[in-house]
């Protein structure tokens, strides 16, 4: 267990040292999320929201709309940044470093979660910046930042790490796994309710949204920050089930990928 923890920390450190070697990277990371966020916000504002079905319940003021969108973007970026470590698996293959990792007796599960958590530094930074936006925009709302924001941070970190771990394992299978990421990433942004509340979805879309842990994470976090009467227990159970299933799937796929690599020796193909 101690060794596993050591590997997770080493992997996080390595990811951070390798990817965030200059301060400008941190600022450039914020650029796109902020642009897309404002784009969405002003798109909403160009319509008379008071007459829109979306402007009820969860979103009933400009401030709540702002918080709804900010939480959506924070959540999505948490997931996205942890998945980015999976994208970099291709470079690890090409540089032969993946083979060097496999050469060691390191626990692969620790390596994939370490990779996923490697984006934690980036997320802390992004989360802090967006949190300032929440503070500014929620003057009229009763948000207790000292207790609620750390809870929100914990929920996003946990669920995004589990998701990132799965993505990392998928990328271990093949150099062509990026296709699968494309299939999962954009649908996740849409079906998880990053920009649009899932309550407005038709039944079939709601069924798809259940698959993504981001959906449940956002439901809970928005519930906390917007003080809505969501069914806490139900959302927490759904998120827990989703994370446990993803964790089991990660372990099963990891066993398969280990067997596949040892049988075919294709880890250095790129």
């Amino acid at each position: 267990m101690k060794d596993t923890f050591k590997i997770v920390i080493a992997e996080m450190k390595k990811q951070h040292r390798h990817n965030f070697h200059s301060y400008s990277i941190y600022f450039s990371l914020l650029l796109w999320p902020i642009i897309i966020f404002f784009n969405t916000y002003y798109t909403y504002l160009s319509f008379d929201l008071t007459k829109a079905p979306v402007f009820s319940g969860l979103i009933n003021s400009k401030q709540s709309l702002l918080i709804f969108l900010i939480t959506g973007f924070i959540g999505y970026n948490f997931f996205y940044s942890m998945v980015q470590s999976a994208w970099q698996m291709g470079a690890e293959r090409q540089n032969g470093t993946l083979e060097t990792i496999i050469l060691s007796p390191a626990n692969w599960l620790a390596v994939v979660y370490g990779r996923s958590l490697g984006a934690l530094f980036q997320n802390v930074w992004m989360f802090s910046t967006f949190s300032i936006l929440i503070i500014i925009s929620s003057r009229s709302l009763e948000v207790n930042f000292f207790t609620q924001i750390p809870i929100a941070f914990f929920i996003f970190t946990l669920s995004a790490t589990v998701w990132g771990g799965l993505m990392n394992v998928i990328f271990l299978f093949s150099r062509d796994a990026a296709i699968l990421n494309n299939v999962l990433d954009d649908p996740m942004e849409f079906f998880s309710g990053v920009r649009v509340p899932t309550e407005t979805f038709p039944v079939w879309a709601k069924m798809i949204s259940v698959i993504f842990p981001l959906t449940h994470s956002l439901t809970i976090v928005r519930g906390i920050l917007l003080k809505t009467n969501i069914a806490w227990m139900e959302a927490a159970i759904k998120l827990s089930i989703s994370l446990v299933l993803l964790f089991i799937l990660t372990i099963v796929l990891l066993k398969l990928v280990e067997k596949n690599i040892r049988d075919n020796g294709n880890i250095t193909f790129y």
Binding site: R17, G96, T97, E99, T100, P105, A106, D263
Partner: protein, 324 residues
């Protein structure tokens, strides 16, 4: 001791045949290979590209699983217990890959050391010692991307020693290095075997390297071991010719006739020159003693004599040619 017995590896892959058709291809990369590596010895595995060297080394390093066969390291079955085995082996490949270029040497070694679960204080001490050993102490905090090729290769060696392995597999470690650095690395590899008692398997394309370093050699071709032995044994068993070149003064006709009689059907004799003659004798066996005896009995002065023993490169080439 590392003992590999009857190792075979069959790869099955799909090859596109047109837009929708795919054909299963089976390739036998390694067939029935058996080899041994003793502690403190350097064993060479040589062969042309595609002969099966890298597949063999990857099986020994537990990176790929043999289709059949057994590998024991000090009685540990490394196919079944590959996680345990990885603690006592390491693989060092030639070239500039397998390390993180954006990280410093210190950071690279900290990371790879952590993968082996080495406690931090022990690891720091080890990193210091290894960096000193490979001469990278002063540049340990510089990103690897600013290193020369030789420095990167030395860092590769440092990485391969981080878990203090009992057996090290070196896959073309001097590939692309200039002669000075290659020589330095060779002396370092010898030290690892002699002073640190490491068992080393070396694959290389440079026969001189094999001749200089290896205590025992396996020649692999088309996935089969086609010859094995110490460099001297291979020369003795597989050599096709020994060449003796003598420069003599006043070679009488009688001496020439007798010399040709002695060597008839045993060697190819060429005599050139007028006052100063050059006698060239090419044979499978070494007839130097007989030649000297014959010339001395006719009072022929030998001005110079060169014995050219078969070189390993030629022997390897012959073996490989025969095995094709």
């Amino acid at each position: 001791m590392l003992i590999a017995t009857n190792l075979s590896k069959k790869f099955v892959y799909k090859e596109s045949k047109g837009l929708f058709k795919k054909k299963l291809i089976v390739k036998n990369a390694v067939n029935d290979v058996s080899l041994k590596i003793e502690s403190g010895k350097i064993v060479g595995l040589i062969g042309v590209n595609g002969a099966g060297k890298t597949t063999t080394i990857k099986m020994l390093a537990s990176l790929i699983k043999p289709t059949t066969g057994e590998i024991l390291i000090d009685n540990l079955d490394i196919i079944k217990e590959h996680k345990k085995a990885k603690r006592i082996i390491n693989l060092i490949s030639g070239g500039e890959r397998n390390i993180y270029w954006r990280l410093t040497a210190q950071e690279n070694l900290e990371y790879f050391g952590a993968l082996y679960g080495i406690p931090k204080d022990v690891l720091n001490q080890k990193i210091e010692t290894i960096l000193e050993m490979v001469g990278l102490t002063e540049s340990k905090d510089i990103p690897v991307e600013r290193y020369s090729k030789g420095m990167k290769q030395r860092l590769q060696i440092a990485r391969g020693l981080i878990n203090d392995p009992k057996y090290i597999f070196l896959d073309e470690p001097t590939l692309g290095l200039d002669i000075n650095i290659a020589k330095e690395l060779r002396s370092y590899i010898r030290k690892l075997a002699d002073d640190e008692n490491k068992g080393i398997l070396l694959t290389t394309h440079y026969i001189s390297e094999v001749e200089e370093l290896c205590d025992y050699i396996y020649i692999i071709s088309n996935g089969y071991i086609v010859a094995e032995g110490t460099p001297d044994e291979l020369k003795e068993e597989l050599s096709t010719k020994t060449q003796v070149v003598l420069t003599v003064e006043v070679l009488t006709e009688q001496a020439e006739v007798e010399l040709k009689d002695i060597l008839e059907c045993k060697a190819e004799v060429t005599i050139e020159g007028e006052n100063i003659h050059t006698i060239k004798v090419i044979s499978k066996e070494n007839f130097t003693a007989e030649i000297i005896r014959c010339l001395s009995s006719h009072n022929v002065s030998i001005l110079n004599m060169k014995l050219m023993e078969p070189d390993l490169e030629e022997i390897v080439l012959n073996v490989l040619r025969r095995s094709e």
